[in-house]
Symmetry: C2
Subunit: 462 residues, 2 copies
Amino acid sequence: MALPNYDVLLRSVARLLRAGAADNLLKLLQRQHPVDVAYIFRHLADRDRRTAFDLLAGRDRRLAMEGLSELDPETGASLLTYRAPEEVARLLGELPADDAAPLIKHLPEGFSDQVRELIRQKKEVGSLLEHADRTAGRIMNPNIFALPETATAGEAVAALQRSAGLEMVFYLYIIDDERHLVGVTSLRRLLLVPPDTPLRQFMATEVIRAHADMDQEDAARLVASYNLLAIPVVDDQNKLVGTITVDDVIDVIKDETTEDIQKLGGLEALDEPYTQTPFWTLVKKRGRWLVVLFLGEMLTATAMGYFEEEIARAVVLALFVPLVISSGGNSGSQAASLMIRAFAVGEVTVPDWWRVMRRELLAGAALGALLGTIGLLRVTLWQQFFGTYGTHWVLVGLTVTLSLIGVVLWGTVAGSMLPFVMKRIGADPATSSAPFVATLVDVTGLVIYFSVAALVMRGTLL
Amino acid sequence: MALPNYDVLLRSVARLLRAGAADNLLKLLQRQHPVDVAYIFRHLADRDRRTAFDLLAGRDRRLAMEGLSELDPETGASLLTYRAPEEVARLLGELPADDAAPLIKHLPEGFSDQVRELIRQKKEVGSLLEHADRTAGRIMNPNIFALPETATAGEAVAALQRSAGLEMVFYLYIIDDERHLVGVTSLRRLLLVPPDTPLRQFMATEVIRAHADMDQEDAARLVASYNLLAIPVVDDQNKLVGTITVDDVIDVIKDETTEDIQKLGGLEALDEPYTQTPFWTLVKKRGRWLVVLFLGEMLTATAMGYFEEEIARAVVLALFVPLVISSGGNSGSQAASLMIRAFAVGEVTVPDWWRVMRRELLAGAALGALLGTIGLLRVTLWQQFFGTYGTHWVLVGLTVTLSLIGVVLWGTVAGSMLPFVMKRIGADPATSSAPFVATLVDVTGLVIYFSVAALVMRGTLL
């Protein structure tokens, strides 16, 4: 296997660092894939990381920066700040623009302006930062390999041979005199036609493309669903401004998933990895939603207050409150997760709500009946063995069973419909998190439970 | 934009179908990308779908099958079952093996054996099905473009030009006499060296590879983290048996995410899209977890039973039960989601537990103090305005505040540690779903709440 034994690797690096064996360390690092160099950087202590990076940056600038670009941008930027702006600009010049942009963004403010200015004099990283966050324009690579439609296949191959500096060339985009995107062809195709054929003659003119101001998630979805390796990015005038490659798409998919899962857990998306998020940011992003949910949940205390007399008369009612309302919350959480994911993969859209509703009504009824039966069994068994619920245990059992059916049914329907409501009002369906649904269902669940109790127990216990 | 207006497109197709205008319909379909043909298939009624597919299968077998392969395999297979096994084998021959395998799997049993036998006589789809589900071997494409190390760059280009039938060629894998994987090179590189250079001289020998019996998720992770377009798959003897391309990797990432989100919502992973899952499967996959959670949650009734006398004496205690325990559940759900995702992206591993624990202890204390303060405020305000909580309202407020701090702290720690426990015992961290954590925290939350109450109210209300 070509994959290194990471433990052994890290230990060797640490040993060479301690011994100050710069040449051997350099040789060891140069044998590694950039991703593994990043792994080494990530797992070294701060001081050792700087030593290793400095060594590499002096001797093998390209590898140093390739390793650095795989780190999170904050750590990466911290390794650059001790240098002169000119050298940082030179180092960043080794990276494709879309990898350099986040590093520049994380440099200290005045410093990053200086570096940006130096780079702008030579390259186009600056233009990336002109696009809004989370757009296709922000994640695209502005160094495009494009040729005029009048070029021939042979000329294209020659141009390709000269272009060794470019990240990855998957498709050859073809433009007219004014940089409008007019066609595309693949490297394979170039090899299949006689060298003197003009590109115009065999290029495909139906090009799937992304707009620079498109949401990055939509651009990623295009690449994924059309099985592309890259997608060209155009501006309002259909002029080619960049490309997004499939490796960036995978990163977008991962980031968006992280965001969805965090929202689903009932907190704001962190934007940065958990371990990199400052403590107070972490507390703030969780606290805000916790408070909102807490304020909502306060209605349970109000609802319970209305039934205070009933509880005083039949304390047994209070015993089942957590069981009944949590069953509603759990079934709601299931339904909401199903719908949120179905929205995310484009399996359902808002007009499907009625079809989903019918299905979930039936599912909710079935699940409610299931839990209701178990609830009844529980009350009956405890009564037989311990006499827990007194002479009116049948009424207690009936109340628990009927409320469970009602609450689970309601939880299922509310949980499945909330993502539709969110989508309809323009919010992210993932906002209808498990805790959000549970809070909603808790309050209504209490009302259902005590109403059923009032109905069943009137004249006896109540 | 090259993206079609889907509404217009579907209406045109429907109109042509109704008019029986086969030639025009064929022309329209042939202008579409296979992904859009699949879109059309997906949105037609069953009968129309068959008509459209039959038309296309008769005239443009390749496009018909490319469109079909983008559908879910069940629907796709249903379009094939009305044909002779020989014709189905011929149609499936248009697809790369990894796209054909799921279709074959979904054919009726006897029929699929016949088709498989017919295909095996010519091709290698059969071998895919020999690998276990969810392994690299199962999702790989067994039609590999590989050349011996003695071939020259010029011969490789020529071989490439002849290989038009292969799905996508990204890298050229190089093998020795016994099919052992010995090197790799890129198409670009082939163009850069003189045509008579042997591959052996310029190939890279450090090849990142996947084992056929490796978990598909691990293989996907290799492709994603090394920014590869494809990864070669080898058997135990390091013999090349297939490749996994980046488009399959994106599918794996999507499927695994769906599974994580469904587990996070407290149900078993569905395996199939929500809309394709039969009703009773849906109920079963949700019901099983709901019952487990319900049985766990029953302990709340038991716990409440222990405090029945306290509740009878101070009914006001019951009013805050849902508020207090749900706050624990919500903070636990937040912490669990954060950890589950951190595990999924490889950001934390089991040995990090203590570092996370320290951080979450502090976060839990801060969040508990926040909610506790709001809780105290609520009791004070309601008391001032409505006199809700009687003469001992200070004790009520103190009980609520202290329990909130305790319960939120406990919820945060339990929620963050449960994924570590799961991972440690070899289970999927995503199993520690929001409902699971909430159930765990509900029971202990009640104990915390009533213990605090006993402490604070002894001699007065209790």
